[in-house]
């Protein structure tokens, strides 16, 4: 077999690989579907298999593509791939098939759009995907169920994801519940900060009761209810601290709002870590953050907006900032 690598074009003047030449030849002859399926079915020559798969991806219908390409996920043989700068790299058959099915660009060719698998499952033309590793994952999730009793949500999540099923109503419900609990918390938080000084004092007691009730409800559902309780305790402490600060300084609402916004920002940053902090640590945090932001060395805070923008793009591409 002369075909020994996969690839598109390479080099400065874009030389084609034999693989892509054969793809073009197939597009010229337009073989029947049976012949292409024979290409895919053969086990002896892996590059011919990938050639057939590529041609089917370009010319076949959505259902055919999924039906004939998914069995190739089980083929884990190594392939040689020629990159666009002329070097060779190692890949595997199932990696290439995954690229064909999930991305819309491969071997320098923009592939035709096919419907997502979930859409086709929804209309019933295909059954939900059965993964070859399903048994292994079932064993794992049984182990998880034994270990953590409160873990209903996570177990449900895993099962749905690995089975490759369309998002069941159960998973959607969990997602909604989690999203709503977040929104709930933020909405109450905003409401508390934007009220006037007199109202805040009156509502503080009411909020504390509400927080405690909400805590109890959430504790039953979420795994880390200990963390939530700490977080709410922090928030309550911070409210008290914030109000004390506003009392001593001027009563202009703008300044309070700016400070509150900053506290809100650091609370979001801090919520990702699990440790509940003391009230003393909060005062240091805003100062430390400001210093760190000023010392950014990728030039994105340059006074000239054009240069700052250029540096931002360079940073996102992984290049060093402009030398001015």
């Amino acid at each position: 077999m002369e075909l020994d690598h996969v690839g598109g074009t390479y080099g400065g003047n874009r030389k084609p690989t034999p693989f892509i030449c054969l793809v073009m030849k197939m597009l010229q002859i337009q073989p029947d579907k049976e012949i292409v399926v024979e290409f895919i079915k053969n086990e002896d020559y892996k590059y011919v298999r990938v050639l057939g798969a590529f041609y089917l991806r370009l010319t076949g219908t959505d259902i055919d593509v999924y039906r004939y390409l998914e069995p190739l996920y089980n083929d884990y043989r190594k392939l040689r791939q020629k990159l666009s700068d002329g070097r060779f790299s190692l890949t595997h058959v199932d990696e290439v098939i995954d690229e064909l099915l999930t991305k819309d660009y491969s071997c320098d060719i923009a592939m035709p759009r096919i419907k997502k698998r979930l859409t086709i499952e929804a209309i019933g033309a295909l059954e939900p995907r059965k993964s070859a590793l399903e048994d292994d994952f079932e064993e794992e999730e049984e182990k998880d169920d034994d270990d953590q009793l409160m873990d209903i949500d996570a177990g449900g999540h895993e099962k749905d994801y690995y089975r490759g099923q369309s998002p069941s109503r159960e998973r959607g419900r969990d997602r909604d519940r989690k999203r709503d609990s977040h929104r709930h918390r933020d909405r109450d938080h905003d409401r508390e900060y934007d009220r006037d000084y007199e109202w805040e004092r009156r509502d503080r007691d009411r909020d504390r009761d509400r927080d405690r009730d909400r805590d109890r409800y959430r504790g039953r559902d979420e795994r880390d209810h200990g963390r939530d309780r700490d977080r709410d305790r922090d928030r309550r402490d911070r409210e008290r601290g914030g109000r004390r600060r506003s009392r001593s300084r001027s009563t202009s609402r703008d300044r309070d709002r700016d400070r509150d916004r900053e506290e809100r920002r650091q609370r979001h940053a801090r919520d990702t870590s699990a440790s509940p902090s003391r009230r003393g640590a909060e005062d240091e945090k805003p100062k430390k953050k400001k210093e760190k932001e000023k010392k950014k060395d990728d030039g994105t805070d340059h006074p000239d907006p054009e240069i700052a923008e250029a540096n931002r793009i360079r940073a996102s591409l992984g290049l060093k900032p402009l030398k001015l």
Binding site: T9, G12, N13, R14, S84, D85, Y105, D108, E306, I307, A310, I313, R314, S316, L317, L319, K320, L322, K323, L324
Partner: protein, 104 residues
């Protein structure tokens, strides 16, 4: 190194430091240059880059600005196709120079 102050008549300290800065800037190894890429079909792009960036980096910057894919871009000057791994400084691409933009 003491810069030549013969042209200066003022004794101001600011002008002295400014002169030193200018001299250092001219002698510095990496400069920022701005390159113009034109594809003669309506796309004219000005890109700011360092002169020690490679052509590959320049292609990424152009891709970010034009929206094409970086590996589809070919940068040429007449019939010389510029290779990805060579720096702009080695190709002697100076500030304000125009390059041709083609696509693969």
């Amino acid at each position: 190194m003491e810069p030549s102050l013969r042209g200066f008549k003022s004794n101001s300290y600011d002008q002295y430091t400014h002169a030193i800065e200018l001299q250092e800037k001219n002698q510095r190894s990496t400069k920022m240059i701005e390159v113009v890429l034109n594809d003669r079909l309506g796309k004219k792009v000005r890109v700011k880059c360092n002169d020690d960036d490679t052509i590959g980096d320049l292609k990424k910057l152009v891709a970010a600005q034009t929206g094409t894919r970086a590996d589809k871009i070919r940068i040429q000057k007449w019939y010389n196709i510029y290779k990805d791994h060579i720096t702009l400084k080695d190709y002697e691409i100076h500030d304000g120079m125009g390059l041709e933009l083609y696509y693969n």
